[in-house]
């Protein structure tokens, strides 16, 4: 059978129309967009200008000049966080305890250089209260960085309320929208964001292109110095084919989200209901209401996440685990195996190391895919429960 791909949070299958758009830029249209004085270069320049407009349209940025291209979400997040702090005289940063590593790690590294930070707590569903942001902001706060949605537990934050607070207090507001872009409406004006990251691979573009929206009047110190590409914020030759793909992916999302998102939600809800009906010791992680339309994440008592993940793979269902045991399997020693900070934040017990499984759907998944996952899940879970020394067989609910 064809594998059922439910790890779209790790990157989607590119849309065929994106690939068709990209290929000429790998074959005939290979000019450097900085080479303005002959048609081959100018063609590339015009193409990435068009992509910039397509990105701006999707996230409701008035001026495409406020978009710069980067190579991935991590780079966009690093440029924003480091770029803001390097030019600010203020030293305090606010993030949440469930931020992605590409936000958390740059911030942690800065603590050595005299910066301080506040890590906001989330509730048991992974939500951040806007009031907690308001009360954490102090005179010395330069930056608030909160993801629009969390890739591991699917929870969507109240970005609009947080944005308003930041605007009122005059604090830079960075939003990592990598997990949400292409699935939830983004409006940089209405959200009052200062900077916002998106990445092509998460919504049917190809790997290697991402973007950073930078609001007018926001100044960032570049990470690289070079030939002043991308307004000098991101010097270095642009990855033209991937950028063309990102633009096309934005255009498709803008036109078609209204069609594919409701269907993804329906399949997501069917999967959540099917799984939770099967076992009362299977727990969904993350908020049910404020949830990415493609996101299902859960953990099962008595069962370790990696063994679940491996069994799903054996059954041709490809998903992801936030389990300590598989998060960094190529690490050199066991000290590097850490329980996911996101899971511990929402109360998944670390003492039993029960990793969460994340199944992230794409617009290509079908009803049959979901039915198949619901068919094989009890086979896998029963097998692993039978093997678990902690499991009491009388608890199996059929």
């Amino acid at each position: 059978m064809e594998p059922i791909y439910l790890d779209n949070i790790a990157g989607t299958k590119p849309d065929k129309r994106v690939v068709d758009e990209v290929i000429p830029y790998l074959t005939e249209k290979y000019g450097n967009p900085a080479a303005h004085f002959y048609p081959l270069g100018r063609q590339s320049y015009n193409a990435i200008s068009n992509a910039r407009k397509q990105v701006a349209d999707l996230i409701c940025a008035k001026n495409p000049e406020n978009i710069i291209f980067t190579s991935n979400g991590t780079e966009s997040n690093n440029i924003a966080v480091k770029g803001v702090m390097a030019l600010s005289s203020k030293k305090h940063i606010i993030i949440s305890e469930i931020e992605h590593y590409s936000i958390q790690n740059p911030v942690l590294k800065m603590l050595n250089d005299g910066y301080t930070f506040t890590k906001l707590k989330v509730d048991k569903n992974g939500r951040i209260s806007p009031e907690s942001v308001a009360s954490a902001i102090k005179e010395d706060t330069a930056l608030v960085a909160i993801a629009h949605a969390n890739p591991e537990i699917g929870v969507i934050q109240d970005i609009e309320s947080i944005g308003k607070i930041c605007k009122d207090k005059g604090v830079h507001f960075h939003v990592d929208a990598v997990a949400s872009c292409g699935y939830i409406d983004i409006d940089v004006e209405r959200f009052n964001v200062s900077t916002l990251s998106i990445a092509a691979q998460n919504f049917y573009g190809i790997r290697g292109a991402a973007a950073l929206y930078i609001a007018p009047n926001v100044k960032l110190k570049p990470l690289f110095d070079g030939g002043f590409q991308e307004l000098g914020i991101r010097s270095g030759s642009e990855n033209v084919p991937a950028i063309i793909g990102l633009g096309k992916a934005c255009e498709i999302a803008k036109n078609e989200m209204g069609q594919y998102v409701p269907e993804m939600k329906r399949l997501r809800d069917k999967l959540i209901k099917g799984l939770t009906d099967q076992y009362d010791f299977l727990h969904i992680t993350g908020d049910i209401e404020n949830r990415l339309p493609y996101h299902v994440s859960f953990w099962v008592e008595y069962i370790e996440g990696e063994s679940l993940l491996m069994w799903y793979a054996q059954k041709n269902v490809y998903c992801a685990s936030g389990s300590a045991c598989s998060s960094n399997i190529l690490a050199e020693d066991e000290e590097d195996l850490q329980a996911s900070h996101v899971l511990t934040a929402v109360g998944v017990p670390t003492d039993i190391c029960a990793g969460s499984i994340t199944m992230s759907l794409s617009k290509y998944n079908t009803e049959e895919d979901i039915d198949y996952v619901l068919k094989v899940s009890p086979e896998i879970i029963d097998k692993l429960c039978a093997m678990s020394p902690a499991f009491d067989p009388s608890k199996i609910k059929k």
Partner: protein, 145 residues
């Protein structure tokens, strides 16, 4: 080359675990946990009157490497004399599994510890002091050096 981070032997023992379950009339049972990641392994032994391990089974809460290490350990124990069981090192388990990723070596250590724990239970049930196992283990280590 294996299609993932684990060897083909690990995958085989993970997907088709040998000797999974309990032994009702086991006369040696050891349960050990790994505090670093929460894995738990319970090992059951049935030792006959000649001091031979007739049967060995396991129940394990843990990752792929923990399950495969448990399964392999029971296979290696079956038919062994009790006093030889302690000679089973974690390295021997790793070798039999065709290797483990460095971060997963602790799973094989857990299996070795489960054997010790099960044998302590066995000797206790035979009316002996459990420390006999520690002494035997120390002897084995000395011989190896």
């Amino acid at each position: 080359m294996a299609a993932g981070p684990y060897s083909d032997t690990v995958m085989d023992h993970f997907t088709n675990p040998r000797n999974m379950g309990e032994i009702e009339d086991a006369n040696g049972v050891g349960e050990v946990g790994n505090p670093s990641c929460g894995d738990v392994m319970k090992l059951y032994l049935k030792v006959n009157n000649d001091g031979v391990i007739e049967n060995s089974t396991f129940k394990t809460f843990g990752c792929g490497a923990a399950i495969a290490s448990s399964s392999m350990t029971t296979e290696m124990l079956k038919g062994a004399k009790v006093e030889d069981a302690l000679k089973l090192t974690n390295q021997a388990i790793v070798d039999a599994l065709g290797g483990l990723p460095p971060a997963k070596i602790h799973c094989s250590v857990m299996a070795e510890e489960a054997v010790e724990a099960a044998l302590k239970d066995y000797y206790t049930k035979q009316g002996k002091d459990a420390s006999i196992v520690d002494n035997m283990k120390a002897e084995i280590k000395k011989d190896a050096e």
